[in-house]
């Protein structure tokens, strides 16, 4: 009894370092909050600048114009970051998810079979809408990724049979199309990501469609959290040669 009481007491004692961190963070938060409060409420941003150059961008939506034209370099690198994340996940682990879900309710199966085509349609609509209203590659890609996750957790029987090579091509499609358009612009109009004015609308929709497909596949592949089995280059030597080992 006497030995447990001090131990309990020691456990409940507050660490002075934690208290120090707490007060430091509270001070920083208070200063930042004060900065937010005294910032002018009417702060001119870049919206007038964007509106002035919007007719040169090829699209009517200011967010899409900023995303793919005015700050296209930024978005190109972000698409590359998504690709790198999939590469990192796939080089660390293998997929253990597909086929391990156990029993799926028939209601869920029927629901997802109805819902998934509709979600693909919504994703395509969002990508198309991105040129003049709110929408675009990232929204469409997110809906596609959601559809992919739904199909994965429903454990549709054909999902483990999806061949790996088209999946890889789809994952790389967005970055490849974006980069090749950027390099084509470098040759055609003499500047990296400087779209020629006549073709800008077509090029932006092309980039958006390819990126939406890649983003959707990326999100679904990240949800699986590992590289798929089969058709892996490095597996052939380890299997001892004859045929495909793990199918």
């Amino acid at each position: 009894m006497l030995t447990t009481a001090p131990a309990k007491y020691r456990r409940k004692r507050i660490d002075p370092l934690v208290v120090l961190v707490f007060f430091l963070l509270a001070g920083v938060t208070a200063m930042l909050g004060r900065t937010i409060c005294i910032m002018p409420q009417q702060m001119p941003g870049l919206e007038n600048e964007v509106a002035r150059h919007l007719h040169n961008s090829g699209v009517a939506s200011p967010v899409t114009a900023v995303l793919l034209n005015f700050r296209g370099y930024d978005t190109l690198l972000e698409v590359m970051v998504l690709f790198l994340a999939v590469l990192g996940v796939w080089s660390l682990t293998r997929a253990t998810f597909v086929g391990y879900m156990g029993d799926v309710s028939p209601v869920q199966l029927a629901m997802v079979r109805l819902l998934a085509p509709f979600m693909f349609l919504v994703a395509a609509y969002l990508v198309w809408q991105g040129s003049h209203l709110a929408g675009g590659a990232f929204q469409g890609g997110a809906v596609l990724g959601g559809a992919g996750v739904l199909m994965l957790i429903t454990d549709l029987p054909w999902l483990p049979m999806v061949p790996a090579r088209p999946l890889r091509c789809g994952l790389a499609l967005g970055p490849v199309v974006f980069l090749s358009v950027a390099l084509g612009c470098l040759i055609w109009s003499g500047g990296f990501l400087v779209y020629p004015l006549q073709a800008a609308a077509f090029l932006l929709v092309l980039i958006e469609a390819a990126c939406a497909l890649s983003i959707g596949l990326t999100l679904a592949a990240l949800f699986v959290g590992g590289r798929p089995y089969g058709e892996l280059m490095e597996e052939q030597p380890y299997e001892g040669g004859s045929g495909q080992g793990d199918e």
């Binding site: 919206e47 007038n48 994340a85 990232f138 990240l222 590992g226």
Partner: protein
């Protein structure tokens, strides 16, 4: 309108501070990943609400475009971090990852 905007900004700041505190104090890797997610949510909320400060009904599209890409990038970064954390737990000493569990059992 103005006070709503201010409320969003301050909520974003509070989320950021909560996430930063948890990121420093909590030792568990999953908690650290969650904390960094909450921090990024706070930053996004603040950026989006700052876009409405342009006045006369206009919205600055530049922060919106940044947040749009940032959300997707933060999701993928979280996935990569989770896989890395699983890898750490598999390959390293269990006491390193489950320090709080050790603390509980040694204290009781």
């Amino acid at each position: 309108m103005m006070s709503t905007n201010l409320l969003y900004s301050l909520t974003g700041l509070v989320l950021f501070a909560l996430g930063l505190y948890a990121l420093i104090v909590c030792s568990h890797l999953l908690r650290k990943i969650l904390a960094s997610n909450i921090m990024s949510s706070g930053v996004f909320l603040m950026l989006v609400s700052t876009a409405y400060r342009a006045g006369n009904g206009k919205i600055d599209p530049v922060p919106h475009a940044m947040v749009l890409t940032g959300i997707v990038v933060s999701v993928s970064a979280t996935a990569l971090a989770l896989v890395l954390a699983c890898r750490v737990q598999e390959t390293s000493n269990v006491t390193l990852v489950r320090e709080e569990y050790q603390h509980d059992t040694s204290g009781a």
